[in-house]
Symmetry: D2
């Protein structure tokens, strides 16, 4: 079978008919036609179609080692540095079609599953672990080009540092409530499945730090599994018009709360359960962090390139480059972009093989990248606001341009190097990056994407090897 | 007559029936019932009603020296420091009802007109100036409690530092195209009349730096003057629900482009025209900056208090104060608030009388305040985002809570010290401050409120007296 | 007796002959002639002389209520807002003579002692407390114009958050080791007595948070008390030349470690001892914070004015104001200065009387001020560096200008508006603010002056009343 | 001949006997024994000695293609990416011995000369250009291991944006005043020759933007050339003690003003003269920027590693890692370090050959690096101050530890994991990085090292190719 088309994707999801709630209503028609999903599912479909374009076929796909079908490079377990570069090119090709605005283009989740498969040895011989389930499932996903979302965050009842999230009487965070012949039974909620309801499958697993083993598990189930419900947040695309909302109308990925009401997970879909140690270490010790961050940073670079392009077009349009602070602000974006590109290249250049032959990009530059991006991306959107100024607000709509006041708009909103309609399109685009409900959600997403910035900073403090640097100081100066 | 009620206000505007365009349509029914105006006009009406509340009557109004009617304190020309404190209390009383979110509550424009009246001597004996027109008009406004908007910014065709905005062939910025027996005739556009279309009058004047005298003028005309058109930007309140959009649904003040299609301004409404020097100096040398900034900073303080309250409620709700960085962030808001309060008090304490007996708050603290606020307010909204994290996005709607999934929401979105529905309300409120289309427009507004931050910074450099400080250094160390 | 002269001061200290160590040597001649003390003692002497200048006599002194002698206003317990303004003027008058660079001009310590005296009621009726000792000692200090240093910080063995500093076997932090008929006996060390050895007296007390009561005490002893030793840090004035080191040579205040080797403190000099609660609360609940911060902020304002003057002279001298970023940087200093001035005025304007009739400046603006200054002062010195650039390093000496290369220097180091020698003086002055050993110690001092910035931030979080602001949000939006 | 030893270097400079002035005195004995030069010349000598160490011989040297002697790798014109890595390793090896604190270790100037030689084709066939002189001189320098300084900045009389620095009547900036049979004659001054007087040669050239051709030239002359004078700034090492000043005493590189009093430059040492275009373009179009920045960034990485080591040792010593902000600050250093390392690796990985076969590291990451470092290095030193706090000031000297108070110091300055003497050494080291006169000069040096930060930012704006990014936006959204 191998890589699917956009039409395949749409058909598959519509047939699944998952239990999805939006603004107090359960979706009952085709999900792909619902206003909250239409735009983004259409964009996702385009991504799948691109895989079949002759010109970039080799950038996007490779020959499956088992079936000889063409499968997505996002499923490739890298064995060489060239494989890493292939993976990067694939991600960036997809990202370019969506200005880097789809945080959950399929390569993201495919990479996570692939990283799990690449680390299946960690499950071998461990209690309640099923590495073969995991690997078979990975192959199935690769060959059938399955779409995924995932969820692992527990509800935010109490974020206190010294909290105990687990509470036996009253189930909030999803936990295993039964183990029987058919599988495990899970009840409770998980937060924030982006694209929840518009994917074939949902991968559910626990975060590190679990104490009660009922909260430790990893499995994947189809989106229409009985008892599984997706409660979407308020949709952030208010209109279909690509003129009015060039990004929102195309790339608005819904986030949802996932409710599991005694969901039965069949054994063949369980990767591990009731094992606190593995829950703690599978992601941390496996290929997960390196491969996922490599995908993420590859996409972020494209997103930054996009913001830089927009920022420069604004400066050109209203002709502000002779204010000293304007080149300064653009340069700030350039430096940020070059920083992220350098982290990416450096992670590939210093990649090393693990004991199972998987080529892992170097963790330090990637971790520095993710620490950096959560700060520079919000600053980039702030720069857009500062450059666009009142132009970010004075934005007529598509309907305005189609009405009797068109002549006024053409006359009074013209810019030096751009006519009124094109100038308005540009500013609406800029606005959709940083000031629309879609845009601010994007910024928040990037702020917290890989976890709380303070936690990331702490993790770097803990993990970064600097013994030799202390030693060097001791030898030169403190002996 | 004196102060009006909310009902008076609504009736008056509805009767005016100005030429207002929203999303390609000309408003044809009552403007107060149009979705883009309903919420904010209702909030404005409440402000007028408050003036009549017995308990705060003396905070909001004073006895007109001419009619013995009660008129708004925003029209009071201050003669003593106590008058300044009265003015501050009035502004803050109004601001509290709208969380400081109405940048154009009536006291703002009333203060501007009052500052003009207080400086009418600058027009005396000058070419093409009519100080008596100005003063009579001020009294009429005070006695009839007229509502205003204003506009003075020219279209942003080319913001180049070395631009010449004036172009004789092709009219863009509004200019005088004729002077005849009845008055002056004005043609062209002005940008950004906030509340344009929902006020009795619009005050139109030129910015400093004009070269061609046709661009120098100051006048006020009713919103329904022939040839006057308001083109609103896209409305930022997407829903009526005060649950879903607690701020947008109430305080969304439309911004509009003002088009003057050969508008005749009768002589009695002209304050000056064809006088480049006065255009340059009337605002700068008069009471304008001091009185206006005093009103603005008074409001901003209330807005900051509101953000502080929300921020602390978030911390309490999800119980995060034991992370060291959380108290730090709240303290950052506290320091910012105390800073603005100190500027305000200091401006009053160091107020001085001008040669005509008007008590002017000290300019230095006010100017420092406005330089400060354009930086700290965006930071405060950023802190809200950082404190709220994913809680700012995972926000069910009023409809969700009315639907069958209510139980799930109650269970999975409960917080430690707040039930699910109250927690969601709090986070939706926080979101409406910083992440909704309304919220981001608020932030942009505060960034640029009194002009481009770079320009403000430059003005401070130019105007701030520091000769004596240089002298002190010379004497102590360089002799 | 009343206020002393500079000569009185010098004579008194030289006669004391305290046990002071500098760079491995015990000072044996007159301390006022030792290179590490000469400059600053001379500057201190000038401060005392100023008190006698006819023109500012009333700014600096008042008539003692008990002796009719003129005594220093720094000893005035304020009863009215005017008293606070008197206190501010006195501090600023002194600060102007030293560019705000003497953190320990006598008014600082006098204010602390005065604040203690103003709070003596807190000691009344408490165990092991001697309010009368305190008050008598205050009067003695006022009438004899005694100089003070103080010390309260414990050695920094382990700054861990969860440390226990008290260790019974091995004495490090100074503790009471005996109580006998004559007094208490204290042994151990305290850190950081600035001006240690060049004052009549040293005030020693414990910090809050003490557990073992042996570490709780407050007393004052003469600098030459038996068993008391001052170990100075390396002196930061390397040369006498006021040309080469205009600030270091005059205002370098030594810091010292204070060692108490079984020092006997006579009972009449003990204010309290063996009372953990009072150690915790005397400073916190008394007038200490308000009065001291009011003095501190008054001085800091003068220091900022000085830096602003120097910064502007640099810009003028090398003619850089037409770079956009230069006015921006100066404006940043101006805003910082206005902020601190506003805090000061606001603290006075909102001052309130305590139950004993002492007029206390408002704590909130002062606390915000101290949080602010520790950040803005380092930034101001950074701006100086950025403005001065290589001019901060290319600095010939007094000897260079006296040598045969004088002509080269005159020719090649001339500036547009200043000859070479005057330009070099200016840049050496700037350098002494931010780049000399003296300058960097000043910056560090201001960073940590009132405690660790993180601790200050936390204290603000804890103490700042904002219940009513939360309430306002609840009422408007969450009901 | 090939690489020299430290003794060779010392001997050669002492024999030159150049005209050097320090603090009003002309040096008359051996320069290597003068207090202002002793420490750094000794450190420089060690660098030369290292070249002969068997273990790292291949890291530091290669076989000369012409003489078969071992010559320094800093003279290697890179032809492959491996050559770039060789160059990096060599620089970092040298930098490690001096904690990256010698900005002018010989590889810096050698690299500049090598970059000039690699670009000699730019001089070919141009008016008044002598590419063969340049190349021969480069070979001589390589084979004889000559030391260099350079100078190109004009005196800072007037830094106005719109200045004209050239003034025919009164010579300030060095200019050609005669051209005769023997060579060109140069008169005037140049600023800031670091290590001036302690090198064999000084390379002198003009900056871009020259109008009068008399100011355009490039040549090298021996330090003892007739008419050449070095006026040193005040030395920043106040003591020999490596205990008291571990860095100052070893790495203090003097800066000097260079005065040329009608210096005759023989033709064979002239590389070009009287050619405004070449003055403008030789550095910009040649290998200069890439090769020099590659050396610079290589060194800066080692410097950052050193600061990281010191910072972590401080945290360990006083045990502060359990304050949340402390790991945060260390992580900030780690991210900065990883950023610079990534730029370096990325510049090598994306290196390309020019048309003459020279392998040039990619300019974008290097330019981003230099923009970044001027901001992060000062921040790193600020972090050191914040971590060290009062420990940075309370610093006894070597003499203190040798005196009778040793026991007090041992007792009261001990740290948790370090005895008093070792703790004091650590803090004195930290202090010498950021608070001594040496340290602050280092910081200033890094702030401005490759030019004014604003200028660097502007250059990035001008040079960075982003047409394709604007194009991408146009195609996706603005068509």
């Amino acid at each position: 079978m191998g890589v699917i088309t956009g039409a395949d994707y749409i058909r598959r999801i519509d047939q699944l008919n998952p239990d999805v709630w939006v603004d107090g209503h359960q979706i009952d028609g085709k999900i792909s036609e619902h206003p909250a999903f239409k735009g983004v599912m259409n964009s996702q479909a385009k991504l799948y179609d691109i895989q079949h374009q002759e010109a970039i076929k080799d950038t996007m796909t490779y020959i499956s080692p088992e079936t000889n079908d063409r499968v997505g490079i996002s499923f490739l377990i890298p064995k060489t540095k060239e494989d890493l570069i292939l993976r990067r090119s694939m991600t960036q090709e997809w990202a370019k079609t969506s200005a880097g605005m789809m945080g959950r283009s399929p390569d993201y989740m495919n990479t996570i599953l692939t990283s799990f498969a690449a680390s299946k040895h960690l499950l071998e011989g461990q209690k309640n672990c099923f590495p073969n389930n995991l690997y078979s499932f990975y192959k199935k996903a690769r060959e059938e080009d399955l779409t995924f979302t995932h969820t692992f965050i527990n509800p935010q009842v109490n974020r206190s540092r010294f909290k105990i999230i687990e509470n036996t009487d009253d189930i909030i965070a999803a936990k295993i409530v039964d183990r029987n012949q058919e599988g495990i039974v899970v009840k409770g909620a998980k937060l924030l499945a982006t694209q929840g309801g518009m994917t074939d499958e949902i991968l559910i697993y626990s975060t590190p730090g679990v104490i009660d083993s009922s909260y430790s598990y990893s499995f994947s189930i189809p989106s229409n599994t009985k008892g599984l419900k997706f409660i979407c947040r308020e949709p952030f695309c208010h209109k279909d018009s690509t003129f009015d909302f060039p990004l929102s109308s195309q790339f608005e990925e819904p986030d949802s709360i996932v409710v599991l009401d005694e969901v039965l997970v069949p054994w063949e879909r369980v990767f591990y359960y009731d094992n606190v140690e593995i829950a703690d270490q599978f992601k941390r010790k496996g290929a997960y962090t390196q491969l996922t961050l490599h995908q993420v940073v590859s996409r972020q670079v494209v997103k930054m390139e996009f913001v830089l392009g927009v920022a420069q077009l604004i400066v050109d349009t209203i002709n502000t480059s002779d204010y000293e602070h304007v080149p300064c602000k653009i340069s700030e974006i350039i430096v940020a972009l070059e920083t992220m590109k350098a982290f990416l290249i450096s992670s590939e250049e210093k990649a090393t093989k693990d004991e199972h032959g998987v080529m892992l990009p170097s963790i330090n530059p990637l971790f520095a990248a993710i620490n950096t991006f959560s700060k520079v991306y919000p600053r980039m959107t702030e720069i857009l606001e500062l450059l666009g100024a009142s132009g970010m607000v004075l934005i007529p709509t598509e309907n305005d341009f189609k009405s009797d006041i068109r002549d006024d708009l053409d006359q009074y909103l013209q810019a030096n190097y751009r006519d009124a309609i094109s100038r308005v399109k540009l500013f609406r685009l800029a606005r959709d990056i940083c000031m629309s409900a879609f845009g601010t959600r994007q910024t928040l997403y990037e702020r917290f994407f890989f976890g709380d910035p303070m936690r990331l900073s702490n993790q770097l403090y803990t993990d970064y090897d600097r013994e030799h640097l202390k030693q060097r100081v001791e030898e030169l100066f403190l002996k």
